[in-house]
Amino acid sequence: MKLTGAEIFIECLKREGVKTVFALPGGVVLKIFDTLHQQKDVEVILTRHEQGAGHMAEGYAKATGKAGVCLVTSGPGMTNVITALADAYMDSVPVVCFSGQVPTNLIGNDAFQEADNIGLSRPCTKYNFLVKDVNDLAATIKEAFYIATTGRPGPVLVDIPKDVSQNVAEFVYPKSVSIRGYNPTVEGNKWQIKQAAEAIMKAKKPILYVGGGVVFSGASQELLELAEMTQIPVDMTLMGLGVFPGEHPLSLGMLGMHGTYQANMAMHYSDLVIAIGARFDDRVTGKVSEFCPNAKVIHVDIDPTSIRKNIHVDIPIVGDCRTVLRELNQILRATVNGEQKDLRKPWWDQIRAWQQAHPLAYHQEKDGPIKPQQVVKRLYELTKDRDPIVATDVGQHQMWAAQYFKLARPNRWLTSGGLGTMGFGFPAAMGAQAAFRDRLVLCIAGDGSIQMNMQEMATAVISKLPVKIIILNNGFHGMVRQWQDLFYNGRYASSDLGTTPDFVKLADAYGAVGLRVKKVGDLDAILKEALATDKPVIVDVPTYPYENCYPMIPAGGCNHEMILEDPPELKMKQSGGAKVTPEDKDTVLTA
């Protein structure tokens, strides 16, 4: 049967199991939109900006583990979605983006809304295709989904010229894909895995350092088994949060620049780092030359380029985290003799001592300004039984969310790690909500970052995506302000937002619900009200503007040298004397 390119496009999506497309139309993709309009299998969520469409596809992908799909027009549509593609590339999110292109006979002529989509997206996609002939369309889409979701996942762009979507061709969907230059290694080298098992058995102070790769390979069960069997503490990266239960006694929480004291100390003083699906980002290693000075390193990753890119690795294992962990567990099961707990006792005593010395802490005065950590903590406690999906933007609020929202399962945490894209959270939350209409989806945002994709509120209202946005409103680009306080003598260059909009009225203007927490005593009641609402909600929480996020390892600093609280001169300045004292023990909350 002969179909138009647009019909082929939809048939392909159906065969890939795509239910939702995040899209914004334009001249050269009208044929595709027209065809989408006349069917019911694939839902179109009309976004208000292409960046939103891209992040929604990411949120959808992160929450479901399947490829997220977005569709944009040529020229500005394409350039707008670039940020989301770059974000997905850094964080290995399987996204397939379809872009319209001017008709093939006009390509290169500086036609209206023409852009070199292939050239623009090359450095921020795993691969990209320009389809020049409608006869190639189906096979190309099949390859695009295959590349996006296999190996180390990532975004793939398919550029479809207008005439290709209009022309007709016989529809044949290939059953399988074979690309001679693309054969990801799934099975780990057996000898290396044996070496790793031996190193684990020998180690006195081992640590598991796990990241987003474990989430994407679906290996959280295997990880849990490994950790419990060997009694090895678990450090999670920002991208890995949720892959190991946050409240599990073996979890030390997040490591890195704003990681917990115990997570960073355990990493620094370990004698064996077992890195799984993590890539030794500079936010984790700190000063590379002094990173884990006494440790051997095992590194499991599906992407060979991640291994030995930043630090030396003693036992590299290229392969899928889940496959490798299964094999590793099998070997260890035969060797582990149940004495692991005793064997690890000195190491755990040390870790518990670190934990007790510097737990995550903040002061919330009863009648004082609302502390952002308190908001996240209460939100967590009020919602944990509902197994929520949590999205964040980028900045202080993101780090507090990472520290205090202890997720129990993977695919619940939507955050922009590698690229650090402000404005990511809200659309990502909507993408997850579109995949799971009945689930509770939260977006913890800052007053700065929420404004970067605020326009999507219209999408949330019209497409009935009842995301709950909690804005930790401090009137600043808070993380920037924190750096300025610590490293730029407190000169707030362009970090003071001056006036922020009235978010309650803004929500109202969009037809959503706006709520404001005026004092800390009202926090629970307002949060509960928001959670009980079946519409999109903005909860505006004005918080103490000068709160800083600790622990903190200054960029390029060494991991065991954390700043744990405001330096004395900063404390003086911010309290305008001495308002908060450590003696206020009854108000000290620890998490």
């Binding site: 090359r122 450095p123 590349i147 001679r180 693309y182 380029t305």
Partner: protein, 172 residues
């Protein structure tokens, strides 16, 4: 240290820019790059001359392998290899210089491939040192134009293996 990397890629549009973009995007060095189709017209062979310490070269090889259009990557420095480069040099030649130019051409086993009353166009091929040497000698005459192909290289067959093969052929 200088490395010559041989890369087999898909022969389709945009592949060169993917490879070049990888080098520029990650700040890797690229001294020369030559590319042409292989016997199988669906593939092209690239020879890339680059430099860096061990860690960087390892990353270059891995990153090249990661490109979906790259089929095979060989760091030739890990084996024995032979490499050649061709230069075409247009030299000013007046009166006595013409004879001098021809003598140099002769010494380097180069060829004159075009001639006008005032110029010779010389083709020379060899390792980079030889090319440098002939350029140095021709420079006093006045080089009008100079183009170089960049190096192409191929791994040498292991001698023992070749000997075994020769025996086998002889027996047959």
């Amino acid at each position: 240290m200088e490395h010559i990397i041989s890369v087999t890629v898909e022969n389709k549009f945009g592949v060169l820019s993917r490879v070049a973009g990888l080098f520029s995007g990650r700040g890797f060095n690229i001294e020369s790059l030559s590319v042409a189709p292989t016997l199988d017209p669906s593939m092209s062979q690239m020879t890339i001359v680059t430099s860096g310490d061990e860690r960087i070269i390892e990353q270059i090889v891995k990153q090249l392998n990661k490109l979906i259009d790259v089929i095979k990557v060989v760091d030739l420095n890990e084996t024995e290899f032979v490499s050649r480069e061709t230069a075409i040099i247009k030299v000013h030649t007046k009166d006595v210089d013409r004879a001098e130019a021809l003598r140099i051409v002769d010494i380097f086993r180069a060829n004159v491939i075009d001639s006008t009353p005032t110029t010779y166009t010389i083709e020379v091929s060899g390792d980079p040192k030889k090319i440098e040497a002939i350029i140095n000698l021709l420079q006093p005459l006045g080089i009008k134009e100079l183009v170089r192909t960049g190096r192409v290289a191929v791994a040498r067959e292991p001698v023992r293996q070749a000997a075994v093969q020769a025996k086998k052929i002889a027996r047959e």
